[in-house]
């Protein structure tokens, strides 16, 4: 199998032939080459190797020509040598041909041509085609008639493309039992073995069928029957294809890709030996007042951190949403402001840091994008290294920020003598088990969560409840859900329920409760009492709980956690999947929800 690409263009070909065969390399790649027309002359550049290797030796890029063809070869007839690589020229060098397939009668044709005086340079079946066209041209003096006469002589399977100095504006092509299609661009037309050859330039294609040949110029094309010579009208097929798709690498959406990248992102964050972590811990320890700021998802990350710092390090931090920060800011020289931002460009967070800095505060940040404004502004920056996050709805970045705050809290607790060596080891080994636990969840529970999402996607109102550190988890989960599904989802502390919200509970409301492991004692008991409050009023309760929980719910998803430190992050991943599948059930624009932008750089 081989790959064919060709361009006829108003503008210089530049890199387009190179790109075309590069994209076709999956079809085979022991050698490759290009041929193009320049000053009434055909230049051929070809060699053994991959497209990139040949390019480095023979330069397949930056071509000034307007018409050219290219080929990537997977040898069938003849060894892998430079001579056998395509394109192949006729004796007079005025016809160049590339071919995919096998010419069954090439030996007979070759003998005939050799008797007529043609000299062959390669062992390939393809070369006979170039000589054959030359021979027919000698008789007819017309490229098209010579081309048709040649096609009538050929037996076997082929997809072909040819250029000639006698008709320097056009590419001649044909197919029989090997694929060939024509691409219609705005400033050029293309030929290719498949649309990978030109997908970056056009999605409009015409598919050639057996027994048809095509003539392709920069501004026009014609398809005719080899047998009758009649013009055949063919429909233009538009390829529903998005070049961006390739970056999704096997996933239908970036959101799912990024959810699945979380095990790797957490591993990276845990392996990181960042000196900034030590410096931030030092700053947290010495500050008299600590603000943790963020907005949207990162505000909930900050809230999550509040529980961790209180429990593990006996540190009282103030989480503040950065859009409100300026009204509350009491910073001074003994204050640390720790900001959290995926992009590092969030306007509210950036101006809050500025505000605090002006008042003499020290600043630190957890940021994903290297060299961003916030990363450059603060005294200490922890780069989370989670890789690009494309989906507007943040998943892996937020989860890694939570993991990094956990690391900070453990280190601070150790520094303050609240966590001894063995406890620290225990907590770290829990963190190190987290990526594996997430991977198991993604593998074994995706289908359960998808089925759940499809069953309940028709519900317009949702309440997400949690207590303790499961409260920020409920808030973040609710935000994910509303961002991507456009449904009304409220996150709330479990204890709030009977202070007002309980009046909303009826059969039109679904309640999702984040239940901690049973080993959490009082926290577990109080959470369970919320389940009963809702069910007693006829509300439908979905439980996100752990495997030790009895059946308290109308429906439940049971997670498996190995340690209370990391347990809250598992139902959070579950909630990301619930939001994702609900959005696909409702056919939402998952990666770019309406009205939302990835990085909010305005007030």
């Amino acid at each position: 199998m081989c790959g064919i690409s060709g361009v006829a263009s108003f503008h210089p070909i530049h890199d387009r032939l190179y790109e075309g065969v590069h994209q076709l390399e999956y079809r085979g790649y022991d050698s490759c080459g290009v041929a193009f027309l320049e000053n009434q002359h055909i230049e051929v550049r070809k060699d053994v190797g991959t497209v990139d290797e040949v390019d480095s030796r023979a330069s397949l890029r930056n071509l000034a020509a307007h018409v050219g063809i290219a080929h990537t070869r997977w040898a069938t007839h003849g060894k892998v040598t430079r001579e056998n690589a395509h394109p192949h020229l006729s004796c007079d060098g005025r016809f160049a041909v590339v071919h995919n397939g096998i010419i069954a009668n090439f030996r007979r044709l070759r003998e005939r041509l050799e008797q007529a005086g043609h000299r062959f340079r390669s062992e390939t079946d393809t070369e006979v085609i170039a000589h054959l066209v030359e021979e027919h041209f000698r008789l007819t003096g017309d490229v098209e008639s010579a081309w048709v006469a040649t096609l009538r002589d050929l037996e076997g399977s082929y997809a072909l493309a040819m250029i000639s100095t006698y008709d320097p504006e056009r590419i001649y092509c044909a197919r029989h039992e090997s694929p060939l299609i024509i691409g219609l661009g705005s400033d050029a037309n293309y030929v290719g073995s498949d649309f990978n050859a030109f997908i970056e330039y056009t999605k409009n294609t015409v598919i050639l069928d057996d027994g048809e040949y095509g003539i392709v110029a920069k501004d026009s094309y014609a398809i005719k029957s080899v047998r009758t010579g009649e013009v055949i009208e063919k429909p233009v097929t538009v390829i529903p294809w998005d070049p961006e798709l390739s970056r999704k690498g096997g996933y239908p959406h970036f959101m799912l890709k990024e959810i699945h990248e979380q095990p790797l992102a957490v591993r990276t964050a845990l392996a990181m030996e960042d000196p900034a972590i030590g410096k931030v811990v030092e700053a947290l320890d010495s500050a008299r007042r600590v603000y943790v700021i963020g907005v949207g998802t990162t505000y909930y990350v900050a809230l999550y951190g509040q529980y961790l710092f209180a429990e593990l390090a006996d540190l009282d931090v103030l989480p503040v949403s950065s859009d409100e920060f300026r009204y509350l800011d009491k910073s001074d020289a003994n204050t640390l402001v720790l900001a959290i931002s995926q992009s590092g460009e969030t306007y509210d967070t950036f101006t809050s840091l500025r505000h605090a800095k002006d008042r003499g505060a020290r600043t630190a940040a957890i940021v994903n994008v290297v060299g961003s404004s916030i990363a450059r502004l603060v005294d200490h920056v922890i780069l989370q290294g989670s890789g690009p996050e494309v989906c507007v709805v943040s998943t892996k970045a937020a989860l890694v920020q939570m993991v990094l705050l956990t690391r900070l809290a453990i280190e601070l607790g150790a520094r303050r003598g609240l966590i001894d060596r063995s406890r620290r080891d225990e907590l770290y080994s829990a963190l190190h088990r987290l990526p594996g636990e997430i991977e198991t969840l993604l593998n074994e529970q995706s289908g359960i969560l998808r089925a759940l999402a499809y069953r309940h996607a028709h519900m317009h109102n949702w309440l997400f409840l949690g207590r303790g550190i499961y409260y920020p988890v409920a808030l973040e989960a609710a935000l994910k859900m509303k961002e991507v599904t456009y449904l009304h989802v409220e996150g709330m502390a479990g204890g709030f329920l009977k202070h007002g919200t309980l009046s909303l509970v009826d059969e039109h409301l679904r309640t999702l409760i984040f239940v901690p492991p049973r080993t959490c004692g009082e926290l577990y008991n109080l959470t369970v009492s919320s389940v009963e409050e809702v069910r007693a009023r006829g509300g439908f309760v979905l439980g996100f709980a752990f495997e030790d929980t009895p059946e308290l719910f109308d429906e439940a998803v049971m997670f498996r956690a190995s340690h209370p430190l990391t347990a809250p992050l598992l139902p959070l991943v579950g909630a990301q999947l619930l939001a994702y599948f609900t959005a696909t059930a409702l056919k939402r624009n998952v990666d770019k929800p309406r009205s939302l932008a990835k990085s909010v750089t305005v007030a």
Partner: protein
């Protein structure tokens, strides 16, 4: 790239249709599963397709011939005895050249969109073997569980140790190198061992399919697949060569093909499909998710609901056909009722080759095989299966005196 489509599976549980046609020639939303697959392949630029035929393979050949009507080049190979997937793949060995990669398709699944575009894109990204994977509706444990790390498949477990796991499963679409043929031989024609070799050796990546996917196993799956496809229809499409009387009511995405006649008083509620050269009589009610294959003749006052007629059916006046699948050239006499509910509205079980299998559905009509004849005035119990070619006599409540 070329494609290999397997249609040889016996499909024994798809009663009564598997007796007369391969599973892939089951019809949903006006076209066979195989037609949809071939159209999707063509849309993805794949026009050289080899089909492995098994029992009743001539049905496929008669329907598609050399493929020119679909704009593709079709060739066929025959699997003489049903000996599994590995054997079917090996039958086609001669059709592929060493060093190629090709698309491998299991012919009996239905998707709501075109899975091949994404599959090719994944192949392009990873330049490695690709397996399509998806999450089937409620987890069933029927298909073997895939384990992923990123998109790399780390293992495929045919028989999971714990029940109720919600893993991704193989969706029946692959891009594989022609080395597969020799691997299959080296592994004793054991697909499982080939997959093991792929996951631990060369590596295989998953292409995750998030749209609808149904593996048609039981007759009621035909109705689910029909519904899934029709749910993607957004607008009505009525051929300029269809003939509609005045006072025909059309609501929603209704498709009517050329040569069909719809008489006054008919109500067509979309999504529904009226194939070529159908006759829809006066006052017929075609409710949503009904698919009428070509040449169907529907008599006066018939009600159709959530049903698939493969084609050439004649349904006599004042009948009701609902939640049912009707094969080709079936004759249903007037006043026939497919009762589609039990008295206590309990889920309906269906006799699949001697075993009662729960459909999980509370509304289910009848499954009537190709060329069966049902006399007038019959009432068919929920979940009835009528084998192909069966003749059910007229049902009279007042017999003629002897």
């Amino acid at each position: 790239m070329k494609a290999l489509v397997l249609t040889g599976g016996a499909g024994k549980t798809l009663v009564p249709f598997s007796a007369t046609r391969p599973k892939s020639m089951t019809v949903v939303a006006g076209g066979s599963l195989l037609r949809r697959t071939l159209q999707h392949l063509r849309e993805a630029g794949i026009t050289d397709v080899t089909i492995v035929l098994g029992q009743n393979g001539s049905v496929v050949e008669n329907a598609f011939g050399d493929g020119s009507s679909l704009g593709i080049h079709l060739s066929y190979v025959r699997q003489e005895r049903p000996q599994g997937i590995a054997d079917a793949i090996l039958c086609a060995r001669g059709k592929f050249m060493p060093g190629e990669s090709f698309v491998l398709v299991y012919g009996d699944v239905v998707t709501s969109g075109n899975p091949f575009l994404q599959l090719l894109q994944s192949f392009n990204t990873f330049k490695s073997p690709i397996a399509g994977v998806c999450l089937p509706g409620p987890p069933t444990g029927r298909y073997g569980n895939v384990y992923l790390s990123g998109t790399r498949i780390t293992k495929i477990v045919e028989k999971p140790q714990r029940p109720g796991l919600g893993n991704y499963v193989l969706s029946g679409f692959f891009i594989l190198p022609t080395d597969l043929f020799s691997w299959l031989e080296e592994c004793g024609k054991d697909m499982e061992r080939v997959f093991e070799r792929l996951t631990t050796g060369v590596g295989i990546h998953a292409s995750i399919w998030e749209e609808g996917w149904i593996d048609v196993e039981f007759p009621w799956d035909v109705l689910a697949a029909n519904r899934m496809v029709m749910d993607t229809w957004e607008e009505a499409r009525i051929s300029r060569d269809a003939k509609l009387d005045t006072n025909v009511t059309i609501v929603g995405p209704v498709r009517i093909e050329a040569g069909s006649v719809v008489r006054a008083g008919a109500v067509l509620a979309g999504p529904c499909y009226i194939g070529r050269d159908c006759y829809v009589g006066n006052n017929v009610l075609v409710r949503s998710y009904s698919s009428l294959g070509p040449g169907s003749i529907i008599g006066y006052g018939v009600e159709l609901k959530n049903c698939v007629l493969f084609g050439g059916a004649r349904i006599g006046r004042l009948s009701f056909v609902g939640d049912s699948v009707v094969g080709e050239q079936v004759d249903i006499g007037s006043g026939t009722m497919t009762v589609n509910e039990t008295m206590d509205r309990s889920p309906i079980a269906v006799n699949i080759r001697g075993t009662m299998v729960e459909s999980g559905l509370t509304k289910l009509g009848a499954f009537i095989g190709d060329r069966a004849k049902i006399g007038a005035g019959n009432t068919l119990a929920p979940g009835t299966v009528i084998e192909a070619g069966t003749i059910v006599p007229h049902h009279f409540t007042v017999p003629k005196p002897r």
